[in-house]
C-alpha cells in the first residue's frame, strides 16, 4: 500500500488512511527473558492481557487504549513513567516500513544491544511522519505482587514532592493532581509495599487510596489540551502558573487544561534542530508521502 502510494505520490496519514489494525498479533513472548515482539496494530489492552498470563506486563499506562504503533509514534506514557520511563526506554527493536515500501530493521530482541543506529528510538515521538512502525520488541517487567496508593491532600504539593523525591523510597508513580493532591504508588512484595507506604505516610502524611486516583490521573491527562515541560526542580513555580493540571515531577511534564503550542514542530524550519529534523524526514520519506 505504501509502495503504491509512493508510486502515485499520494499522501497518507498513518492511523487514518493507512492503519495497522490488521497487524495485531503478539508474535513472541519470551517470558523467561522478559521480552516480547508484537505487531504494531495490537492494542495495549490486548497485549497486557496476553502478557498477564505469564505474570508480566509492559510497564506503560498511557490514557486510552492505543495500538503499540501509536504508543511509540506519540511516545505516550502515563503515571508509571515515573519509574519505568517512556516507550523509548522500554523499546528494544523495530521493523519499519519506509514510505517507498522499504522494510528496515533496527535494534534487536535482547535487552542490551548497541549495534547500529537506534532507529527505533528515532521514530518514538515522530507521529507517523518518518516511517510506519510495523513491529516492535519490548523489555517487560513482572507484574507486582502488591500495589498500594497514598494520596496526600495538600496546599504545598511542591513541598510534598520534594520530600518524597529526596527520600530513598522507590515509588512506581508520583503525580500531582493539581490543585490540591499528590498521589504516590508503591509496587512490590506485600510486606515491602506496606513498609514503603508507612514510611511515606510518616514523611508526608496522607491517606490510603484505591486505584481510582490513577484512573482519574490518566483520564485528566487524556483530556488535557496542552503539555508543558519544566525543570524537575521547578515544581512550585510550575504549579503556581497553572490552574488545573496533571503534573509528573520526575520527568518534568505537566498536562494542562489550557492549550499549549508544541515546543517545536516538524514543519517550522527556523532553527538548526527543526532543520535537522526536516532533513531526516526528507531522507526517509523523500516524496513526502507520510503526512
Amino acid at each position: 500500500m505504501l509502495a503504491a502510494a509512493s508510486a502515485e505520490r499520494r499522501r497518507l496519514r498513518i492511523g487514518e488512511s493507512l492503519t495497522t489494525e490488521g497487524l495485531s498479533r503478539v508474535l513472541e513472548h519470551e517470558a523467561g527473558d522478559l521480552t516480547c515482539t508484537v505487531e504494531a496494530g495490537v492494542r495495549l489492552s490486548a497485549l497486557h492481557a496476553a502478557l498477564a498470563v505469564a505474570g508480566q506486563r509492559l510497564s506503560l499506562d498511557p490514557p486510552g487504549d492505543p495500538t503499540v504503533g501509536a504508543l511509540l509514534a506519540e511516545n505516550a506514557s502515563g503515571p508509571l513513567r515515573h519509574r519505568f520511563g517512556a516507550p523509548r526506554d522500554l523499546l528494544l527493536g523495530v521493523t519499519l516500513v519506509l514510505a517507498d515500501g522499504t522494510i528496515a530493521n533496527a535494534g534487536g530482541k535482547v535487552v542490551k544491544n548497541v549495534a547500529g543506529y537506534d532507529l527505533g528510538r528515532l521514530v518514538c515521538g515522530s507521529r507517523g511522519r518518518l516511517a510506519l512502525i510495523a513491529r516492535a520488541s519490548f523489555r517487560l517487567h513482572p507484574l507486582p505482587r502488591a500495589a498500594r496508593t497514598l494520596v496526600i491532600a495538600t496546599e504545598d504539593a511542591a513541598g510534598v514532592v520534594t520530600m518524597l523525591r529526596r527520600s530513598q523510597l522507590e515509588p512506581s508513580a508520583l503525580d500531582v493532581l493539581h490543585p490540591g493532591r499528590v498521589a504516590v504508588l508503591f509496587e512490590g512484595s506485600e510486606r515491602a509495599v506496606e513498609a514503603q507506604l508507612d514510611a511515606a505516610r510518616a514523611l508526608v502524611g496522607g491517606d490510603d487510596a484505591g486505584p481510582e486516583v490513577w484512573h482519574e490521573s490518566r483520564e485528566r491527562q487524556g483530556a488535557a489540551r496542552g503539555r508543558i515541560r519544566f525543570d524537575p526542580g521547578a515544581v512550585a513555580e510550575t504549579l503556581a502558573g497553572l490552574d488545573e493540571a496533571i503534573v509528573r515531577p520526575a520527568p518534568g511534564i505537566a498536562y494542562t487544561t489550557a492549550q499549549t503550542e508544541p515546543s517545536y514542530n516538524l514543519l517550522r524550519a527556523d532553527d538548526a534542530l527543526a532543520r535537522l529534523t526536516a532533513r531526516i524526514k526528507d531522507s526517509l520519506d523523500p516524496q513526502g508521502i507520510l503526512a
Binding site: L122, Q168, A192, A234
Partner: protein, 484 residues
C-alpha cells in the same frame, strides 16, 4: 595526504598554538584506543576548550574536506576513536568541567571530558550517584559514554547511558550546534537524543551533556555464590529472572577468570569454583531483605555450594574489584587476549556457554568468560600468544563466538560498540536494506563522510567484498538442498 600548513595555522589561531599537536611523538599517543590492534597516526591532534572552539575546528575540517575523529579518554574497546590517517583527532580532554549540579532537578550538566566516576563523586555527599558504571569508570569520559551508549554492571535495574542522559549539545559535522533535550524529559518530535546516544561519534561531536542522577538506595546487599559449573550458575540466573527479581547487578565469572582475578587482586572468591555469581540487590530495605533471601534460596536450589554476603563496604569493594579488574587480570595468565561483547537472550546463556567451550576446544585456545549475566551480555576473553602466531586463530575463534550469539537470537555488541572492530560483521546482523537506511540517516548528519568515517556501517573499502546477507538458494527454497 598532507594537510596544508595553512590549515594547521588556522587551527592554531582558533585554539592557541599549544593546543594543536603535530609532532610525531605527540601524535603517536593518539594512534589507537582500547582496541590496540587497529592503529593510525593522525595528521593533527587538537584540544579545544569550548563548544565554539569545537565548532571552529569542525568548520575548518568541513571546508577543507578533512576527516575528524572525536576522542575522550581512549578507553573504548571497539576502535570508535581510532584516528583516520591524514585526519584530525579532536580530543575533548580539556573540556572536563562540571558546569552545574542541580540537586532539585536531579540533574548534572557536564562537559564531555569529565570522567564518569567524577559525576558520582560530585553528588555522593548529597546522597546521589550516576548509575551507568562501565568497568573503566575511573577514567572513561561522559562524552565517550554517550558515543557508545555505555552500560556497565548495574544495567539490569538502572539501564544504560541512554536512560540517564537528558540533554546534549551536539556540534554537527558542518559546524552548526544543536541542543537536544534538556533537564525535562520527553521533548516533542522524534527522539534525536536516542538516535545520537550510541551513534559512536559518527553524527557529530557532543560538547555538553545533562545527566540524570539517582538517589542512593537505602540498602545494598552484595552476594557471592560459588557453583560447580557455569551451567548451574546460569540456571540460578534464569530462576531469578523468572521469579521476577530485578537485582541491580548479576555478574558471572568462570573458572579461568576466577583464577586470573585471584592472582591479580585476591578478591577471595570460593576455592575450586567453576563459576561465581556476584549479585547485588539495592533499594528499600524491606524489598531487598526479601529478595536477598529468595536469591540465596534460588542459588542453593541451582546447586551453589556456597553463598555469602559482603559484610561491609570494604568487603563489597573487594568482591567488585575482582570483577572489574577481570580483563586486566588476564595479563597474569596469557600474553594476549581479545575481548568479545556478544549478547544472548538470558534463557540461552547455558547453551551458548557450552557452545563457546566447544569452540574453544576446536580452536585449541582458552576462553575466559566474564559477563553481565543479568542482561545476557557476554565478554568472552580469547587468550592467545601473538608471538606464537596464534593471532589469526584467535580472531577466527572470536568471530565464531559472535556467530553463536547471533544464532541464539542475540547481538554483535551489548556495550562496547561496533566501531572499527565489528563494522564488517554488521551484515551478519542486519540486511543490506537495514544498512542502507543506516547510511541514509548518517548522510543527513554528515553528507561528506568526514565525521568518524569507517566506523559502524561497513564500507566496501573497509571490508573488501561485503558478504551479503544470507539469502536462500533456489534449491533450498524448493527443498532440494539445505544448509548444514
Amino acid at each position: 595526504m598532507a594537510l596544508a600548513a595553512s590549515f594547521a595555522a588556522e587551527l592554531r589561531g582558533v585554539l592557541g598554538a599549544e593546543h594543536v599537536l603535530a609532532e610525531p611523538e605527540q601524535l603517536r599517543v593518539y594512534e589507537c584506543d582500547g582496541l590496540t590492534g587497529h592503529r593510525a597516526i593522525p595528521e593533527l591532534v587538537v584540544l579545544p576548550a569550548s563548544t565554539e572552539e569545537v565548532q571552529g575546528v569542525v568548520r575548518a575540517c568541513a571546508r577543507e574536506g578533512v576527516p575528524f575523529v572525536a576522542r575522550g579518554a581512549g578507553t573504548g574497546l571497539s576502535g570508535g576513536a581510532t584516528p583516520v590517517a591524514g585526519g584530525v583527532v579532536i580530543s575533548l580532554a580539556r573540556m572536563n568541567r562540571i558546569l552545574e549540579v542541580d540537586l532539585d532537578s536531579q540533574r548534572v550538566v557536564v562537559e564531555p571530558g569529565v570522567a564518569n566516576l567524577d559525576v558520582t563523586r560530585a553528588v555522593a555527599p548529597h546522597g546521589f550517584f550516576y548509575a551507568p558504571d562501565p568497568s573503566s569508570q575511573q577514567v572513561c569520559t561522559i562524552g565517550g559514554n554517550v558515543a557508545e551508549n555505555s552500560g556497565g554492571s548495574h544495567c539490569p535495574k538502572h539501564g544504560f547511558t541512554v536512560h540517564h542522559v537528558t540533554g546534549l549539545t551536539l556540534v554537527l559535522p558542518d559546524g552548526a550546534a544543536v541542543e537536544l533535550g534538556g533537564k525535562p524529559l520527553d521533548p516533542d518530535g522524534p527522539d534525536l537524543l536516542g538516535l545520537v546516544i550510541g551513534s559512536e561519534g559518527t553524527l557529530g561531536i557532543v560538547t555538553c551533556v545533562t545527566v540524570r542522577i539517582v538517589r542512593m538506595p537505602e540498602v545494598v546487599v552484595t552476594l557471592l555464590a560459588g557453583f560447580e559449573s557455569t551451567d548451574a550458575a546460569g540456571a540460578a540466573v534464569s530462576a531469578m529472572v523468572s521469579a521476577g527479581i530485578l537485582p541491580g547487578a548479576i555478574e558471572m565469572m568462570d573458572r579461568l577468570t576466577i583464577e586470573a582475578a585471584e592472582l591479580a587482586v585476591s578478591p577471595g572468591y570460593p576455592e575450586g569454583a567453576g563459576a561465581v555469581l556476584l549479585v547485588e540487590l539495592d533499594g528499600v530495605a524491606a524489598q531487598v531483605e526479601e529478595d536477598t533471601a529468595e536469591v540465596e534460596r534460588l542459588c542453593l536450589a541451582a546447586g551453589a555450594f556456597e553463598v555469602r554476603a559482603a559484610a561491609d563496604d570494604a568487603a563489597r569493594a573487594l568482591l567488585w574489584k575482582g570483577r572489574k579488574s577481570a580483563f586486566a587480570a588476564m595479563g597474569r595468565i596469557a600474553t594476549d587476549y581479545y575481548v568479545q561483547d556478544g549478547v544472548v537472550p538470558r534463557t540461552r546463556l547455558p547453551e551458548v556457554l557450552r557452545r563457546i567451550a566447544e569452540l574453544s576446544a576446536e580452536h585449541g585456545l582458552r576462553v575466559g568468560n566474564v559477563f553481565h549475566a543479568g542482561d545476557g551480555n557476554l565478554h568472552p576473553l580469547v587468550l592467545y600468544d601473538a608471538e606464537a602466531g596464534e593471532t589469526e586463530r584467535a580472531r577466527e575463534l572470536a568471530e565464531a563466538i559472535l556467530e553463536a550469539c547471533l544464532d541464539a537470537g542475540g547481538s554483535l555488541t551489548g556495550e562496547h560498540g561496533v566501531g572499527m572492530d565489528k563494522a564488517c560483521s554488521m551484515p551478519r546482523m542486519f540486511s543490506e536494506r537495514d544498512l542502507e537506511v543506516f547510511s541514509r540517516v548518517r548522510r543527513v548528519f554528515d553528507p561528506d563522510g568526514l565525521c568518524n568515517p569507517g566506523k559502524v556501517v561497513p564500507t566496501p573499502r573497509l571490508c573488501g567484498e561485503v558478504p551479503g546477507p544470507y539469502r536462500m538458494h533456489a534449491l533450498e527454497r524448493i527443498g532440494v538442498a539445505e544448509r548444514l
